[in-house]
Amino acid sequence: MGDVATGVDRTVAHSARMWNYYQGGKDNYQVDRDIAEEMLAIYPGYGIKARTCRYYLFRTVRFLTVEEGVRQFLDVGTGLPTAENTHQVAQQFAPESRIVYVDNDPLVLAHARSLLTSSPEGTTCYVDADLRDPDRILGEARASLDFREPVALLLLGVLGHIAEYEEALGIVRRLVDGLPPGSYLVQCDGTTTDASYVKALAEYHDAIGVPYNPRSHEQIAAYFEGLELLEPGVVPIHQWRPEHGLVGVPAAVDESGGVGRTPLRPG
């Protein structure tokens, strides 16, 4: 039975738990696995997408930490913990890094608070806030981060949860405008580039607790308007500074994103 007091519902598929399943995690219920498998039958690319997104997080956070010297991260839409979480990646290269995780899901927050714990040199903290409330997110971030220094804002696979594109765009604007000069936006979302992916999301739109809406590549690129795009710009994420390992060229995914920098002086 669903539990109103705690917000944990075992009877309805849950986006973060399904994503955890696609990533090979163990924090999911039967109802999540059932819906996830049905969606996989329509769009078999979910498993690769989930791993590619996680690898994109790794490459972007490492790039910002090592190449750009960023030490503060605001990760909105944390998700359930997996192998390489934002603070682990950042603190692996710069142990003093400070991370604010933001989510509005009680289950995600409970896991984050207990399992996403900082290295002794840095800090992690957790904010219970909705993506639709950018002012609150910024206010809470200010309490833990130094807003005289750049902050990397991570919006990975979360803007699709906002049903109206214009609203999602407005949220990005307000968040980015509230960051210190020389800050960064790291973003990615699923794209409408594959008919079976769009079909899977449409058919199961109402079966999942928080539905997800894919966007066109151009709509995703527009999130970065007014920012200086770092190489290679907004691209399908497997093409973002790829590393060709033993397995050869990374598999293509229907997911676009990029990294942009806010102007050094406001205005």
Binding site: K26, Y29, A251
Partner: protein
Amino acid sequence: MGAFDSASEQPAVPFGMLRDQPGDRVGSTVLRMAVGAQLRKRREAAGVSREEAAYLIRSSGAKVSRMELGRHRFKERDLVDLLALYGVDEDERKEFLDLARQANVPGWWQRYGDLLPSWFETYVAMEHAASVIRTYEVQFVPGLLQTDEYARSVVRLVHSDPEEVERRVDLRRRRQELLTSANAPQLWAVIDEAALHRAPADGGLCRAQLKLLLELNELPNVSLQIATFGRGVHPATCGSFTILRFPVQDLPDVVYLEHLNGALYLDKASEVEDYVDMWHRLCTRIDPPETSGSTLERIRAEVCAAS
């Protein structure tokens, strides 16, 4: 980068996850469970029934089942025969055998074998192998977080021989070394406030225990949540339980339930989910871990005032 070196395919090497772990911490138990789980996969893929496999190694279906659950030591000859039957190629067969050999190495706790009923020995072995330990305690401070004095007073509730009491306290201390070892597991503990007021012998002991909890709460791999009286009833409508997670993708979480003369180990998905769901509802309902430090200070002040 082990987790990502194959962006386009499922990991080709079944034991890839294990190789990333320093041998000591993976421990023989989880290795045995992992080898067993792989063995079951290969048998099913080859379309061989448990009984057919059992016939080949002159054994019973029940024994094959125990092997596949990692509850039985592997005999090399049996493994060689089974792997051949399942059509596993030579390179992989060698890998299976290497791991099975490592899995047969006894753990440190076997020196305490005379003290441990076999159901608890299994627990100590699994605890040693776990990557995440989630535990809910109603009446006592969890064993991994007890001071020697506290542990001694708990052991004395059931045992009187002084030498045996000391060895049992030793064993508990050995178990606690896990928390500060290299590649230590994450311990996520929920303790009912009542357990913290229930001083086993005297107030001084209780204060020392609260002080240790405050210190351990600072470890990055330890997270404490206290089910305070102030938050009223909570969803854990059962006794104490522990959920163990292992650092191998194929191994399910295991729920450990202890009773007076034995223990239950649940690993069936639906049964584990009942406890995991209760855990989720419990820890989202009570105070978050950030407040545990001040809660412990408050309880320490109350205990000091009372004694």
